[in-house]
Symmetry: C2
Subunit: 420 residues, 2 copies
């Protein structure tokens, strides 16, 4: 299990070999593996919690912030939630083998474009041990071997969880190499990121430091998720009560996640009516407000410091919100395309015309009309879970679920055709 | 048109701005632009041929090989073929706006996953001037602004062709910036490859030198096409007459292209029967043969040098073929996955079981049963033309047509939903 006596290359070669077998496994076998994993998670919940307690008691964990300790800590309910998540993934459609297109070439060759697994998917993540199970379930069901590189703080927890996945694989007759766990050290990260031909995709879940380190060395394909600088735009025709509820929810409900709003844009026509009340409510929810000149003037005396140029491009990940007044939907779109990260942006409006202009003009993965940006999430989107969230345009955009972990091949059947 | 007085950034900013307008253009307007372009190509064929003659008469062209001069040379028939190609693209379905998925989240938010253009696509290519028109047509129809960086040898030809595209755009009320032509110098290439936020995709069409240069500097997304080390595998149950026709076609019909075969694999069971005749025919077609020990022994006296380890991994791009004898379909699959580049590989067999094992096991973009590898081509696949061919697994695999030049966004409509 541990890579103490194996090199990263050993682990990756095992994963590659296993991926070929897993890629051919039937939906029934994959679902049986997931069903068994859910059973094991419940039966061995005690082992997992014991490993987690050892991680928390480790000297290394003593320097962690309370937020990180919260993320690292597993509870019986958390393990049960993992088991339920695995069952949800088992219940979803298997994308592998789906026929995406079919046709007959002019030469008479029959063409089928068929969905196939990527092969070996590596996930690099931080403290949360549940990621081990969520990502393993999505990869296994979509026919991909997974290489997990978690935080060293969660080493024992991740090891206990990965051991259950491997036991479930063995019980179903699938190779253990379908799940490989690497240690948290930097050399292993570099070896992983340069394993051309062995790793088909790396998904980094983590902060800017990890992404920068990867960009420096990676030669294998990486799907990067940019930070989420998300916007709520209150159009002149908005229901202002709805606008306030959405703005507050998008900022306050969980400020540390990537789909939380960082900027509120308000049409000049409604700024004087809208901003005083919503600013009071935001300030009452401990949100630190910064604004442009017009927003500050319209805030009705609520404290709002001057926003700097940096503010419009900043993902606060915190109870802080920048506010600007704009002259209509076109200016809002321009602001969002200039300062956003292409993650999730919302308009609140009763005007279909403004909604259409916004959803067409804003170049983001997810564009919302009259709803909070907080819904961008694989679970909410019906993908069971998500292995990450992409703000790039190639391959996958938005939540990365099973479908996004596949590619396709063209299967061509002829009867002797040659090209003239 | 020329970038002599404009910087690359000026050109890219113009393309980005134009891409927003083009992305919203209706299918009718895009088709009218393409129809007008076809008319202009026919009306101004003389101007294009004159510019091409000037490129050919230029001092720079004097050092070119005959093969490159052939690629650079335009004829009246060649210009007519470009016009017809543009009309074919106009006749194809517009992918933009296609609804890829639709659903309702548990929160009641309506979700639509909609096909949208990538934005700005840059194509870097070598001598062939027809690429200017082929790629411009595919990009315009799929709603993408295109930035063209051709060879300096074809500067006047490409300029004349791009001028026609810009005239067609203006005549349809679309911005000229939908097509930008850069000069061939290295600084412009580096500026293009690092224009984050302005360029959504770079497609290099060209040799290893160009790709290596790009890998060194590129920070924008690049879709690389690896070389095509393609295989024809003759299974023990093959119709050997068909196998010989396919092997010869795949190698000889046009050896300088990426979908030509470089390696012939033959089952041991039929090697003695198959190899003497096909080797004679290949040698008769001036193909230089190299083989492993068993292939040389079975070649019936036809000259076949010993293949080195390098041969199995080499794209000859020439009348040269490596030949190996294998023990069945599993060994063939293993050889192809170890030495191929994931481009196009064929099995010749009468056995459905062997065909299924091969198409499932070979990890390539296009897997053929009883047909030549030479059919991997956007035009043959019904895509009108192709802007390149991808051997990577992410985003697009195989021929890159209009669909592959798009991404998607999630358009979410609610009535005030917030997350609890």
């Amino acid at each position: 299990m541990a890579t103490t006596e194996r090199t990263v290359t050993d682990a990756l070669e095992a994963a590659k070999a296993a991926s070929i077998e897993l890629g051919r496994a039937s939906t029934e076998v994959k679902n049986a593996t997931l069903g068994r994993l859910a059973v094991l998670l419940r039966e061995r919940s005690g082992d997992v919690l014991e490993a987690n307690a050892a991680d928390l008691a480790d000297d290394r964990a003593q320097g962690l912030t309370q937020a990180l300790i919260d993320r690292l800590t597993l509870t019986p309910e958390g393990v049960e939630a993992m088991a339920e998540g695995v069952e949800v993934v088992a219940s979803l459609d298997d994308p592998v083998g789906d026929e995406l297109e079919r046709g007959v070439l002019s030469s008479g060759i029959e063409m089928r474009k068929v969905c196939v697994p990527l092969g070996v998917v590596a996930v690099i993540y931080e403290a949360r041990p549940n990621v081990t199970i969520d990502c393993a379930a999505l990869c296994l069901k979509s026919g991909n071997a997974i290489v997990l590189r978690g935080s060293s703080y969660a080493e024992r927890s991740n090891g206990a969880l990965a051991a259950l996945v491997r036991e479930a694989l063995t019980d179903s007759g699938l190779p253990e190499g379908c799940v490989e766990l690497l240690s948290g050290d930097r050399e292993e990260l570099a070896a992983l990121a340069t394993a051309d031909g062995l790793v088909d995709l790396v998904i980094p879940r983590g902060g800017g430091g990890l992404k920068a380190a990867l960009k420096e060395v990676a030669t294998v394909p990486v799907m990067y998720a940019a930070a989420g600088v998300c916007h709520v735009y209150v159009h002149g025709d908005a229901d202002l009560g709805m606008a306030a509820r959405i703005a507050i929810n998008a900022k306050v409900q969980r400020p540390g996640v990537c789909n939380a709003a960082e900027t509120l844009l308000v049409d000049a026509a409604v700024a004087d009516e809208f901003l005083p009340q919503v600013s009071r409510e935001l300030a009452g929810a401990s949100v630190d407000l910064v604004g442009d000149e017009r927003a500050r003037a319209a805030a009705g005396g609520v404290e709002m410091d001057e926003a700097t140029n940096v503010d419009w491009d900043t993902e606060y990940h915190d109870l802080k919100l920048s506010v600007a007044v704009v002259d209509g939907v076109d200016e809002a779109i321009e602001h969002i395309n200039a300062h956003g990260t292409g993650h999730s942006d919302a308009i609140v409006t009763a005007s279909d015309e403004a909604a259409d202009a916004f959803t067409t003009g804003v170049d983001s993965a997810c564009v919302y009309v009259n709803a909070s940006t907080r819904f961008t999430d694989g679970f909410e989107f019906g993908m069971g879970a998500e292995i990450g969230n992409s703000t790039q345009k190639l391959h996958a955009r938005g939540p990365i679920g099973m479908r996004e972990l596949t590619t396709y091949k063209y299967v061509m059947r002829g009867n002797g055709q040659i090209r003239g």
